[in-house]
Symmetry: C2
Subunit: 917 residues, 2 copies
C-alpha cells in the first residue's frame, strides 16, 4: 500500500488519528493553512471543498530531486474527483468547470514567503464555459489573464514587469486608471497578449490541460519552500529548514464576480492595540491577492457592515467561534461570492507587543485562557517593546513648530526611529552594516525586501494598509513603521523622494513615529517611556505571582533607583559606589587623593569626597526605603580616575615641540610648568600602569592596600544610614566587596569594616543590622565559595567579569575583535557577554551555589552582571536556584516576565518528570 | 601528685612509657640532646650521670610568666641527690665537689641557638677543693673564670668584650699568645677580676650557692628558647615556636685537666661528601665550647688515632654502634678525661646534599635502611642542590692565570657564588634586600649572624673548621662557604679586608668556590653542572622505580631537549614553537608577515620562516627519538613580535624634535623617512593593541583568524617528521593547541590541521600516527573538558595562565605589586605562581580530569606550567592522577625525586586508610 500523501478537508479526523491525535502534529503534516481549513470544516465553518497534499510529500519531493513521491499524483487526482462531486463541478469540464487554488502552507506561518497559484483549470474552453455560466466574461478573462500571469511569473520565472507592461499599455490605450475599469474586451485582449508573451518567452504554448496546470502549480509551491526569500525569512525567525510546505488544493470561490462579491482579510481583534473589535481590509469585486499585495487602496472592514450587513454579521459570528475554538485572536481570509461568505483561511493573528499584552489579559478575563497562559503568551521581547524609544514630546512640538513635519500615514507598528533614508533593501542592509542608522522608504514592500527591513530602524511606504506586507513584517520584528503615506512619491532611480513638493535625497535624516504615523525631517530626540499601559501592569502583576526569582536593579544614583522601583524592582542589587567619583566636582578630589604623597594629604582629599558620598547615599536610601540596597565598595583600578597614558605621552610630545618654537620667556615658562605638571601625572600613571588591568590592582585588592578609601566609603555609608534611620525610614543595607579571590581577603576586610562601622554606630547611638557580602566574579571565588561563605551572608555573581576570566576573553578588546568573527562563524553559539554561558560560567555558578550553601544553607545568591536582564540567562539563573537577578532599571519589567516564564516552565517540566537541567 | 618534670637518664624507659612508647614523643619531652643521652645510657654507651628537665617544664615556665612550675625545683634537687650518689661526689661539697653542665636541647636540633652553662657548682670553696683533688688548680680556675664569664654574659647579659678585655690585658701583661699559655696565677687573677667586674656591672656578688647557680642556669636556658636568634632560626627553618626546650643537667667531665684530656665533636661519616669515614675536630686540654666556637684552631679527628689510640678505637666502635642504633649518620660530642672516654651527645648529623645522597645510598646498600627509606631521605631540595651553579672551569683557569686567586680556605659547603663583599650580617641583609648579590666575610660567625648568612650568596671566614658554626649553617642552608682562610684579615671598622697584602674594600666583587675552597677577585662565570654523581644517579634510578608520574621537560630547542634527556626526561611536554621566531634572522620575516597587507606577501614571509622551523624540528625529533614530543602551535599575540608601543611613541616624539632642529635637506629627508617607517609600525601596533593582551587575540584565536600561520607550522612539523622517519628514527608527535575556551574551536582547528597534514603525508608517502591535544589554561576549558575530550587524545594544563585567570591576577603586574604584599601579610599562604593553588586551580584540574576521562577514559593528562618542577605541586599532580608533569630541563631530577616521594607517601597513606585529599 502506498503512503497517504493527500487528505481531504473532510478527512481531518483521519489525519489527526494518523499523527497520534496531536494538533501540532496535524499542523506539521497539513501545514497551518491546510489544517485550519480542515479544522474549520469540522466545526461547520463554511470553507470551499478541497484537500491538502502533506508536507511529507513535499519533503519526499525535495529529497528525491524534485520527483513526486509514488502514489501522490494518483491520490491528488482521486481527491479532485471527490471535490468535483462536492462542488458539483468538473475540473476542465465544459459545462460547469471547477477552478482550484493551489496554496502553500507550512507548519509555521511565513506570510507571503511562498507561492500560491489561483484559478487553476482555466483554458480557452473552460473560460468560455465560465463566461456563459456566470454571465460575467469580464471576470473570467480577468481570472484567465491572472492564471497566465501567475504561471509565467511563479512557475516559469518570467519578470512580472513583462505582464504589467501589457496591462499598462492596454489601460493607456483604453484611457482608464484602475484595473476594475477595464472592460471584458480589454481583458480578452490582455489574455491574448499574455498567451503570446508566454509562448514567446517560454517557448511553448500556455498549457491548456487543467491537470497539467495542477501538477505544475503543485511543483511550484513545493519549490518555493527553498526560495531565497523563504530561506532568509526562516533564518531570521529561526524556523527549521527541513519542515517542507503542504499544498492545499481548494475549490475557487470568487470575490471578483461583480459588485456583490468581495474578498478580504481580517483580524478578530485589533492587531495594533489589541482592542476588542474586528480589524481588517477588503476589496469589492477582487481576488484576495489584491488585498494583501497592497496595490489597490483597500477599504476598512467596518465599511462591509454597511455594504453587506448580512455577510458581515455572519463573518463576525464566525470570527467569535474561531476565537473560542482556537483560544486566540485569529487572522482570517474570506471571500464573498455573490453574497455567500466563504472562509478561506484562519490562523493565529500577528500582533504588536501592545496588542499581545492586551489580548492576553482580555482573554484571561473573558475566561478563554488561564492567567498562567496569559503570562506565557507575553514574551520578554513583548515587554521589552514597551521600553522602546519614543520621541520626546517637547522635541516633537518643537519640530512641528519648525515646520519639520513632512507627512502622515498609517501608524502600523509603534516606536520611534531616526535614520538616514534609503530606497531599497540592499542598500539599507549595506549601510546598516557600516553602522549607519537607516530608515527604509519604499512604495510598498514585498517579501524580497525583508532583509532590508530587518536592517532598518524604521520602515515607511507610500502604499498599503494595516495588513499590508510592510505592516505585518514591521510589527512582527518590532520595527516602527508608517505605511500608506499617500503624499509620498518615491523615485528609486533618482534616489530621492518627493513629499508635498519637498525633495528628500537618499541619505538625509528622517524621524518616524510609529505611534502617530508622522514623519519628520531631521533627527528628533528620543526617550525611553515609563510603562503605564494598564494591561501590561496587570499582566506583570500576574507574572509576579508565578515567579520565584526576585528582580532587583543595578542603580548608582537616586534617580535610577526611583525608576527601578517604579518598574517593580524589589531592591538594589548593585550600587557602584565609585560611579559617584566621576562627577566633575568630585573627580578633582579623587585625583588629589591618588596623587597624594602623604597620608594627611590623602585623608583630606578623601574627606571632601566623603561628604558627597554620604549625601548620595542618604538620597538613595530614602528612595529605596523598606527594600534592600547592596552597595559595592570601590572596584576600578585607580588609573581609571587619571588621564590616559597615551594621551599624556602625546600631549607631552606636543608641548615639547611647542617649547622648541616658543617665542618669549613668559611663554617658555608657561610651557615648562605645563610639561612639569603633565610629567608628574604621567609618572603616577606609569606607576599605576598595568599590562592587564582587568586582572590587576582593583576591587578588594585596592581596599586592602589603601584602606583609607574603604574607611571613607564605610563612614559615608553608615552615616547615611544613621541619618535616614533618624528620619524614621527603614534601611536594609548590604555591603558588598568586589573581586575576591581568596577567603582571607574577606576575613581582613570584614573586620576592618566592622571596626569602622561600629565607631559610627556608637557615635550616632543607633542600632541596626547590616549584611556583609561579596561579588563572585573570579573562578577561584566560585570554586571556593564554601570558604567564602564563612564570612558572608550573601554573594552576587558579577557575570561580566566572571565571563571574562572564565573564557579568558577581554571584553573591551574582543567584542570589537575576534569575538564577532567567532559568533559569525558559529564557533560560539552566542555572545557570552549577552547570554550567560551555561556550560562554563553557569557551571561555576552551580558549583558556587552548591558549595556556598553547603557551608551556610541560607546563603543569599544573586547575579548583578548585565545578564541579569536577559531572558535566557534569567531562565538559567532560575534553574541555578539563585534568589534574585539584578539588572538595569529598564530591564526590570522584562526580567519580571522572564522569571515568571522560567518558574512556570520549571513547574510544568517537574510535573512531567525530572528536569533535564 | 605533682607532675613529673624531671627524668634521670636512667629513667628513659619510664619517660618512653609516659609518652606512649613513641620515640619522637620522648624526643619532644626530653629534647634531642636529653633523649639521646638517656637512650645512649640504655645501650651502654658511657655517658656522665645526669637528668633532664622536660620541655613541658619549659613551656609551663614561659606560660606562667617565668615561674618554675610547681614541684620542678624539688624534683631537680632530688635528682641532684641521685647524681651525687651515682658520681660519688657532692654538689657544693668541699670534699669531692660535683660540677654540672646545664645544656639546652629542643625536639629539633638548633645548633648553637640556645644557651648552655658549664661548671655549675664552682665557688671559692669548691674551687679550692677541686684544685686540691685534681692537683690542677690551673684547670680549676680556668673553669671558675669561665663560669663567671658565662653567668655574666648568658644569665646577666653583660657584653662578652668586658671579659675578653680582661683576658687580653692579662695576656699582654704576661706576654703570652694563647689562652693555654696562661698560668694558674694568671687565671686566679682573671677570676678575681671577673668577680669584681660582675659586682661592678651587676650590682651584687657573683652567687656562691651552687643551687642558686643551678636555678639561674636553668632559667637562662629556658629563656634562651625565645631569644631573637633562636626565633630567627626557627622562622627560617619552619620549627614551631611553641615546643620549648628541655634542660639536661649532666655531671661535668673535663677535657681540660691536662694533656691526657681532650674534647671534640665528630660526624660518623663525612658530612660534606658522605664518605664512609669519621670526620671531626678536637682539642687537647680544652672544654667542648672551645671546639665549636671556632676560636682555637682545631685538630683533625684523624690525629686522635695517633695521640690516644685506645680512646680513638673506643670512639670508633661507639660511633658504629650509634649509627646502627639510630640507622643514620651521627653527630657526636665526646670528652676524654684522663684517658677515659665520655660521650656527651649524639644526634643525626647535618650534612650537605651530596653527603645526604651518598649516605642514603650507602646505608641502603649496607642494609641499614630500605631503598624506599633512602629515597625518602633525599629531598627535592637536596637534588636541586646538585644543580646549583658552579664556576666554569675555563673561567677559573683564566682567573688563575690573571692572578686573581686571592686565597684558599676550607671547602665546607659546595657551590659557586659571586657577589659584593660585606663585613657584617646587618649590611649583608640590607644590601640583599636592595637586590644586590652579597658575599659575607667575617672573622668567624655566631648565631647572631644567621640572618646575614641567609641573605648572602656565599660565606667566608678567616677562622673556624669543618664543624664551625659558619660551616654547619652554610651547609644546611645550601650557601657555598669557605672557612678558616688564615691569610685573611678583616677590619670591620675600616670596612675592608687584607689578604696577602692586598686590600679589598667593602662592596668589591669576589667569587667564592665552595667546592675547592678558593676565593677570587671579581666576578667569575658560573655554569649549571651536569649531574654525574654516581650516588645521585643510583638514587634517582631507585626513585624512578617508585614513582607513578612520568617526568617530561619543557624544551624549545634541540640543546634543551638533549639536556632534558640527559637528566632523565621521558618526553618533551612543551615545545613553544614560536620561541624559534624570536631569533634575529627569523624575526625579520615574522615582522614582515605581520606587516603584510596582501596574502601573497604574508605567505612569502611565512615560507621563509617555515624553512627555519622545519630544520629546528628535525633536530629536535632526532634528539628525542623514541620519546613523545608535544609541539604547541603559536601562542603569543602578534604584537609581541613588534616593537613596544610606548617606545615607538617616544621614538617618534624624539625624531620630531630632531626634525625641528635638522640643519640640511639630506638630514631632513632621512628623518622624515624614519618618521614614516615608525608611524607605519605604530599604526599596526595600535591596530593590534589590546587593553588586556593576556585575555586577547592569541593562541587558537590567532590560528582561527590567521590560518596561514598554523598551516606554515603544521607543514614545517610534518615535513620534519617525514625527514626524521626517513632516517629510520621513531617520532612520537603530539600537536598541541593553546588557549582553547570552547570545544568548537578545536573542532575547526583539528580538521584544518588534519587536512594540511594529510597533504604532506601523501607527498612524502610515509605513514605515521600523531596525536592531537590541547592546553587547558582557561577555566572554561577545564569546566567543559568532557566536550573538549571529544576532539583530543591528550590535554596539558598550562597552570601559569590557568592560575592567572582562575585567580584573576595578572602575573606580570602582580608579582612585582600587590601579590608581594598579599604573601607578606599572609593573605595568601604561598605565591600561587610558585606553588600550585590546590583549592582553586587544583580544583579546576580535578574537575577537568574527571570530566575529560568520563568522555575518554584514556585521556592523557599532563601539566606544563612552571609548577611542573615544584615539589609540592608535583604531590598535588600525583594526587590528581595526572599522567606526567613537564618542567624545565634543570628541574627534571628534582621532579623525579618529588614524584617518587608522592607515590611512596600516597601508598603509605592508603595503607593507613582513605586518603585525605
Amino acid at each position: 500500500m502506498t503512503k497517504k500523501w493527500v487528505y481531504l478537508f473532510t478527512e481531518f479526523g483521519q489525519a489527526l488519528k494518523d499523527v497520534g491525535n496531536v494538533w501540532d502534529e496535524a499542523r506539521g503534516l497539513l501545514g497551518g493553512k491546510g489544517a485550519n481549513l480542515a479544522d474549520m470544516a469540522r466545526i461547520n465553518v463554511p470553507v470551499p471543498p478541497g484537500f491538502t497534499v502533506t508536507t511529507e510529500a513535499c519533503r519526499a519531493y525535495i529529497e528525491s530531486g524534485n520527483v513526486f513521491p509514488e502514489g501522490m499524483w494518483e491520490q491528488m487526482k482521486e481527491s479532485m474527483g471527490v471535490i468535483e462531486s462536492q462542488a458539483g463541478k468538473r475540473f476542465g469540464g465544459k459545462e460547469n468547470p471547477l477552478l482550484v487554488s493551489c496554496r502553500s502552507g507550512a507548519k509555521f506561518s511565513m506570510p507571503g514567503m511562498m507561492d500560491t497559484v489561483l484559478n487553476v483549470g482555466l483554458n480557452d474552453e473552460t473560460a468560455e464555459s465560465m463566461a456563459n455560466l456566470t454571465g460575467d466574461p469580464r471576470f473570467v478573462y480577468d481570472s484567465y489573464r491572472r492564471l497566465i500571469q501567475m504561471y509565467g511569473t511563479v512557475v516559469r520565472g518570467l519578470p512580472d514587469e513583462l505582464f504589467e507592461n501589457v496591462i499598462h499599455r492596454v489601460k493607456l490605450k483604453a484611457n482608464v486608471q484602475n484595473d476594475t475599469d477595464l472592460s471584458e474586451a480589454h481583458l480578452r485582449e490582455i489574455t491574448h497578449e499574455f498567451k503570446a508573451l508566454f509562448l514567446r518567452n517560454v517557448g511553448h504554448e500556455f498549457p491548456s490541460d487543467p491537470y497539467q496546470q495542477l501538477s505544475w502549480a503543485t511543483e511550484a509551491v513545493f519549490k518555493s519552500w527553498n526560495s531565497k526569500r523563504a530561506m532568509d525569512y526562516r533564518n531570521a525567525t529561526g524556523i527549521p529548514h527541513d519542515l517542507g510546505t503542504a499544498v492545499s488544493i481548494v475549490a475557487m470561490v470568487f470575490g471578483n464576480m461583480g459588485n456583490d462579491c468581495a474578498t478580504g482579510v481580517a483580524m478578530t481583534r485589533d492587531g495594533s492595540t489589541g482592542e476588542r473589535h474586528m480589524e481588517g481590509d477588503y476589496l469589492t469585486n477582487a481576488q484576495g491577492e489584491d488585498v494583501v499585495a497592497g496595490i489597490r487602496q483597500t477599504c476598512d472592514i467596518g465599511l462591509l457592515k454597511k455594504e453587506m450587513p448580512k455577510a458581515y454579521a455572519e463573518l463576525a459570528g464566525i470570527a467569535k467561534r474561531l476565537e473560542e475554538h482556537y483560544r486566540d485572536m485569529q487572522d482570517i481570509e474570506f471571500t464573498i461570492e455573490k453574497q455567500k461568505l466563504w472562509m478561506l483561511q484562519t490562523r493565529d493573528g500577528k500582533r504588536t507587543a501592545r496588542a499581545t499584552v492586551r489580548i492576553a489579559v482580555d482573554m484571561a478575563e473573558e475566561g478563554l485562557i488561564s492567567r498562567e497562559e496569559a503570562v506565557l503568551r507575553v514574551s520578554p521581547e513583548h515587554v521589552d517593546f514597551f521600553l522602546h524609544p519614543q520621541f520626546d514630546n517637547s522635541a516633537i512640538v518643537l519640530a512641528r513648530n519648525q515646520g519639520r513635519l513632512l507627512a502622515r500615514g498609517l501608524n502600523v507598528s509603534p516606536g520611534a526611529a531616526c535614520g538616514m533614508v534609503v530606497f531599497d533593501a540592499n542598500r539599507a542592509e549595506a549601510w546598516a552594516k557600516e553602522g549607519k542608522s537607516v530608515i527604509m522608504a519604499r512604495p510598498e514592500t514585498k517579501p524580497d525586501d525583508v532583509h532590508g527591513m530587518l536592517a532598518s530602524k524604521g520602515i515607511m511606504t507610500s502604499r498599503g494598509g494595516r495588513t499590508s506586507h510592510a505592516a505585518l513584517v514591521a510589527r512582527q520584528f518590532g520595527r516602527p513603521a508608517v505605511v500608506g503615506i499617500s503624499s509620498l512619491e518615491i523615485d528609486v532611480d533618482k534616489r530621492q523622494m518627493t513629499v508635498n513638493n519637498k525633495v528628500i535625497i537618499e541619505g538625509e535624516w528622517l524621524s518616524l513615529d510609529g505611534n502617530t504615523g508622522e514623519i519628520f525631517e531631521g533627527n528628533i530626540e528620543t526617550l525611553i517611556p515609563d510603562i503605564k499601559d494598564p494591561w501590561l501592569i496587570k499582566l506583570l502583576s500576574w507574572a509576579d505571582e508565578f515567579r520565584r526569582l526576585e528582580i532587583w536593579a543595578n542603580a548608582d544614583y537616586p534617580h535610577d533607583a526611583k525608576l527601578a522601583r517604579s518598574y517593580g524592582a524589589q531592591g538594589i542589587g548593585l550600587c557602584r559606589s565609585e560611579h559617584m567619583f566621576f562627577e566633575a566636582e568630585r573627580l578633582v578630589h579623587v585625583q588629589k587623593m591618588i596623587m597624594s604623597n602623604y597620608p594627611m594629604e590623602r585623608r583630606e582629599a578623601l574627606e571632601a569626597v566623603q561628604v558627597f558620598q554620604r549625601d548620595d547615599f542618604i538620597k538613595l536610601f530614602r528612595v529605596m526605603q523598606g527594600l534592600p540596597v547592596v552597595i559595592r565598595l570601590i572596584d576600578p583600578p585607580l588609573h581609571e580616575f587619571l588621564p590616559n597614558r597615551i594621551d599624556l605621552l602625546r600631549d607631552l610630545a606636543d608641548l615639547k615641540i611647542r617649547l622648541q618654537h616658543a617665542g618669549n620667556l613668559k611663554e617658555i615658562d608657561g610651557l615648562i610648568s605645563m610639561v612639569k605638571e603633565k610629567e608628574t601625572i604621567l609618572e603616577r600613571v606609569e606607576r599605576l600602569y598595568e599590562q592587564n588591568p582587568m586582572l590587576g590592582l582593583r576591587g578588594i585588592r585596592l581596599g586592602i592596600l589603601i584602606p583609607e578609601i574603604i574607611s571613607m566609603q564605610v563612614r559615608a555609608i553608615f552615616e547615611a544610614v544613621c541619618q535616614v534611620k533618624k528620619e524614621g525610614m527603614d534601611v536594609y543595607l548590604k555591603i558588598m566587596i568586589p573581586l575576591v579571590s581568596h577567603a582571607n581577603e574577606l576575613k581582613i576586610m570584614k573586620s576592618r569594616i566592622e571596626d569602622e562601622a561600629s565607631k559610627i554606630v556608637q557615635d550616632h547611638a543607633i542600632q541596626f543590622d547590616y549584611q556583609f557580602g561579596t561579588m563572585i566574579e573570579l573562578p577561584r571565588a566560585a570554586l571556593t565559595a564554601d570558604k567564602i561563605a564563612e564570612y558572608v551572608s550573601f554573594v552576587s555573581f558579577g557575570t561580566n567579569d566572571l565571563t571574562q576570566t572564565t573564557y579568558g576573553i577581554s571584553r573591551d578588546d574582543a567584542e570589537t575583535g575576534f569575538l564577532i568573527e567567532y559568533i559569525d562563524k558559529g564557533i560560539l553559539p552566542d555572545n557570552p557577554f549577552a547570554i550567560l554561558d551555561k556550560d562554563g560560567v553557569g557551571e561555576l555558578i552551580r558549583i558556587a551555589v552548591e558549595k556556598g550553601r553547603s557551608r551556610r544553607d541560607d546563603l543569599e545568591c544573586g547575579i548583578c552582571g548585565e545578564h541579569g536582564g536577559e531572558p535566557k540567562s534569567i531562565h538559567l539563573c532560575n534553574a541555578l536556584k539563585l534568589n534574585y537577578v539584578s539588572c538595569s532599571p529598564y530591564r526590570v519589567p522584562v526580567a519580571r516576565i522572564a522569571a515568571a516564564h522560567a518558574s512556570i516552565q520549571e513547574r510544568k517540566a517537574n510535573r512531567k518528570g525530572p528536569d533535564s537541567y
